[in-house]
Symmetry: C2
């Protein structure tokens, strides 16, 4: 069979990527059937002890302090993370753009500034930052998983990159995405499939899956992704990371490429991913402090609020009341998620907070409204982009070989939205009306919890799974039921890691009365041996534009969980 033109293009581009890796950074990889690879960076011998010390520093604040005091130079920090990122790449295929020289030159420039002026270049001085393959960098291609976009070199930086540079950061790699961005996994024809470093049989999630795998390998101290239905939170949950999905237009998206461009009913947002909450906070604050509304006209003119961060509208954070959504009434979570929620409740109550039940409210209706909006172009956006090169539109994330047997023929979303067709602008307006009514109804439902909290306030945040399961085998992640709620309602939401699947504790539950065929399929998928060792994260759902409060509450939760784990010996 002849290789088609688009396949040749992909092969050439993949080869060019390989050649962009310094030869001396090529490692002896473990065999493909070694599932967990998180220890390889420490064992492969490429990184020096000091480089391991640097890259194992998950607290971004601590890292920045060492950079600010020149205890560590930006050059050595960037080199260390670059080496580890390249190790991650060889094990999980998480990267797209690799530009070692450019990043190292930039790091030297920053070292020079600190040396000659005694001052840092900004609040992120010297910090290497990885970026999802949407954030255009002048002079580099922005391929975003489309063959036709190979060779599109950016004429200017996206606003985020402009601001990161002004803040003294070092953008150093870009990371992989799924074709179209609208999958909760990460695979495209140009750069291929990214796998989960905790278990390579599993997906790292998506669409910010490249960041998920890279950060889980500690190949970056801080990554930036995007989220329109869970794309920051799914990979964060699957890879044991912290993230923040900010509200629409709080952070500057201008100049980044995107899927469904011009779709503004449910806006994609950008946010940080990291191995610590300090990374999440520092990034969010630095970007807001740069007054991004002067560069991106859509960004909300709202300064970072210390008052909100001090939780002044949440009783000063002294006694918070959380509402746990154990089950959204659409798909029931796997046993490890239930255990994580029990840990959460025990840990937070031990810390003096309250935990009550959240009653799901019109969850499926909200989900259906969102998915119908996303499909309003009848798929034109994807078809047009694929059509430019002739590459086929990917129909499943399941690998041809090594596929797990349980893929759903027809996920619930297809049943809900129906066959693809073009909706008119007027029909879209009717979906907006419906969405507004749903948002008002959900807000009133939230406000009404004031009767049950005993704090004089409605619940301070909702706690729920981000996904009904830990990372699943490639091709099986169809659940965005827990995450899409926050995009539709525009709730500021974090994800934080809680525990790991433990086959000795997380026994299968007996069948329940299934809500639908997908709920049944998810129930059947659970196999404690298969999932053993995978990270388990939860979402903390705050109100719209409550980024500061959500960060502060997640810090409180994180601290309470750490104390609880230390006391109980659990992990």
């Amino acid at each position: 069979m002849m290789t088609s033109d688009w396949q040749e293009k992909c092969a050439r581009r993949k080869q060019a990527q390989l050649e962009s890796i310094p030869k001396e950074w090529i490692i002896q990889c473990p065999p493909d059937d070694q599932l967990c690879v998180t220890n390889v960076p420490t064992q492969c011998g490429l990184l020096s002890p000091r480089e391991l010390e640097i890259t194992n520093t998950v607290d971004v604040e601590a890292l920045l302090r060492k950079l600010q005091t020149a205890e560590w130079s930006s050059f050595e920090v960037t080199t260390a993370f670059y080496k580890r990122a390249i190790v991650a790449q060889q094990l999980t295929n998480c990267l797209t753009e690799i530009f070692v020289e450019k990043a190292l030159a930039r790091s030297k420039e920053l070292d020079e500034i600190l040396k000659t002026t005694g001052k840092t270049a900004g609040p992120l001085h010297g910090l290497p930052i990885s970026l999802k393959d949407q954030f255009a960098i002048k002079g580099l291609e922005t391929i975003m998983g489309y063959v036709a976009w190979i060779g599109r070199y950016a004429e200017c930086d996206s606003v985020l990159v402009e601001i990161l540079n002004e803040c003294g950061a070092v953008p150093f790699v870009r990371t992989n995405v799924p074709q179209t961005l609208m999958w909760g996994e990460t695979h495209n024809h140009v750069f291929g499939r990214t796998v989960n470093p905790f278990n390579r049989y599993m997906t790292p999630g998506g669409s910010t899956g490249g960041e998920g795998a890279l950060l889980a390998m500690r190949g970056s101290p801080l990554g930036v992704g995007t989220d329109i239905g869970g794309s920051l939170r799914i990979p964060s949950a699957f890879c044991g990371l912290y993230t923040l999905r900010p509200s629409y237009e709080r952070l500057p998206y201008c100049g980044a490429v995107n899927a469904l461009e011009g779709q503004e009913s449910i806006s994609s947002v950008l946010g940080p991913m990291a191995n610590s909450m300090s990374g999440v906070k520092i990034f969010t604050r630095a970007i807001i402090d740069s007054r991004p509304w002067n560069k991106d006209p859509l960004v909300i003119r709202k300064e970072w609020s210390e008052k909100e961060y001090r939780l002044e509208f949440h009783g000063g954070g002294k006694q918070l009341c959380f509402g746990i959504m154990r089950d959204n009434g659409v798909v029931k979570p796997h046993p490890p998620l239930h255990r994580a929620m029990v840990m959460f409740k025990d840990a937070l109550e031990a810390a003096g907070h309250k935990v009550i039940d959240w009653e799901p409210h019109r969850h499926l209706e909200i989900y259906k409204n969102s998915e119908t909006i996303f499909a309003a172009d009848g798929g034109d956006d994807y078809r047009i982009q694929c059509g430019l090169s002739g590459e086929p539109l990917i129909q499943t994330m399941s690998p041809k070989e090594d596929a797990h047997e349980s893929a759903l023929d027809e996920p619930l979303v297809k049943t809900l939205v129906g066959k693809p067709h073009h909706r008119s602008a007027y029909e879209l307006w009717q979906l907006h009306k419906e969405k507004r009514e749903l948002r008002k109804s959900h807000l009133d439902h939230w406000e009404a919890t004031v009767k049950r909290t005993g704090t004089g306030r409605p619940i301070d945040a909702i706690i729920s799974p981000a996904v009904a399961y830990p990372a699943v085998p490639h091709g099986l992640n169809t659940d965005s039921f827990y995450t899409t709620l926050c995009n539709a309602m525009d709730y500021s939401t974090s994800v934080f890691p809680v525990t790991f699947v433990d086959s000795s504790l997380d026994k299968p539950h007996p069948p329940h009365e299934f809500y639908n065929h997908e709920d049944e399929a998810i129930h059947q998928l659970y196999d404690s041996k298969l999932f053993d060792g995978c990270p388990v994260g939860l979402q903390l759902i705050g109100r719209t534009q409550e980024e500061e409060a959500v960060i502060a509450m997640t810090e409180i939760v994180d601290e309470a969980l750490k104390i609880y784990k230390a006391k109980t010996g659990r992990r």
Copy 2:
């Protein structure tokens, strides 16, 4: 000819409106050919001297102080304004819902609260407030100019009304609008045409034209309208008032009825109209201080910022630099507008500020994009609402009798947007992409003025006409070229009165090289005798979500103009 069903419904509803007026408030009206009626309230004898003193108090802060100290009771203030509003109604046909008993009962309730508790009910204690016919009040009809909506009684208050009640205000009348809301004049089949009290041959503008006429008659101390393309600013300019068009979602629209519902590309916003800036500020601040985001999920969680009101990002307001847009390159303003801009420049320079030229930037492109978005449903929204009752869709605001000769057969907007047709959701997304690019381009253009101001900042605000002319004869207002810019770019914008047309000063200009046929028609329309005595207002255009700064800058401008007029003896 038989009267059709919808006409009978209109006649009955209009009769019911007439019957809702207390008989003793019916005045002897001046003859129809008396054009200016602003003096009638003082001369008709219905209002006592004290009632005239109350209703002539244009400073809302002063009015509230007297209410707070019980020097004036809410009952007498509400009665006074109600009587004057009913006079205004008889002269200009500005009202829709009249509910004297309900409002007076509410005012007594507030007086009782103050008397028994010694405390006011809220920051707007006892203040009567008029509302555009969109803001639903429980138990009242919300007709909004559609015959089919007669008999639709609201089951609950709109969020704005809920908040006004919590603030201690007295919603006391609702005011007229054009059918569809999408006209810059005010006429519908149910309640008929509203006329301009400065010259009844002229339109008060629209769509918030009922408020315009009512406030110009001082029949209300404070009104609330909405703006999607100029609907607050056009009537404010035509009626000599102050207003603020806030940015999208700064103030709570939830629960108000609307045209083109679900159209969210360019959101309609609500704002105050008043005879003083103190009214504009007090309303805006009271609503924001009520934390409306807890009731309306779309409202931006941004507290009132004293820092922004103190103009900390505008050099403390000490030396502002304004950019004057003398001409937007689409239609050239009439001579009185030019004189108003010269007055502005002289007054502000005399007060120590700087005034430079603003170069219009892609003005027509922006206008075309907006108008294409508004028409994306091919007119379905209007047709469906009219179809419910069988009333015809109004094609012109020109009266059949007493029409001025100069109506344009085809305003520029029709040439630009083309024949009505249904656009797809995908096409709408492409318009959004275009709009985003235009917003970025306009923002960068604004930022680039930093090179020309000499203040170290870009210009602090743009000053421009709100409309190319003062109020025009009914049927002739086709210009929203100056206002739509702000809706499209989401610039926070005020309108303030500057002067009145003076036929001895405002001589016709010689023909210029016309930009288009509408520019030519507008030029030819100018006739200094016809326009003599009409108010002339300007816009102050600030950045997105800069409501506090725009209010503060307008206060500075207003003060400078008052000092300038006092010194020069101009009015």
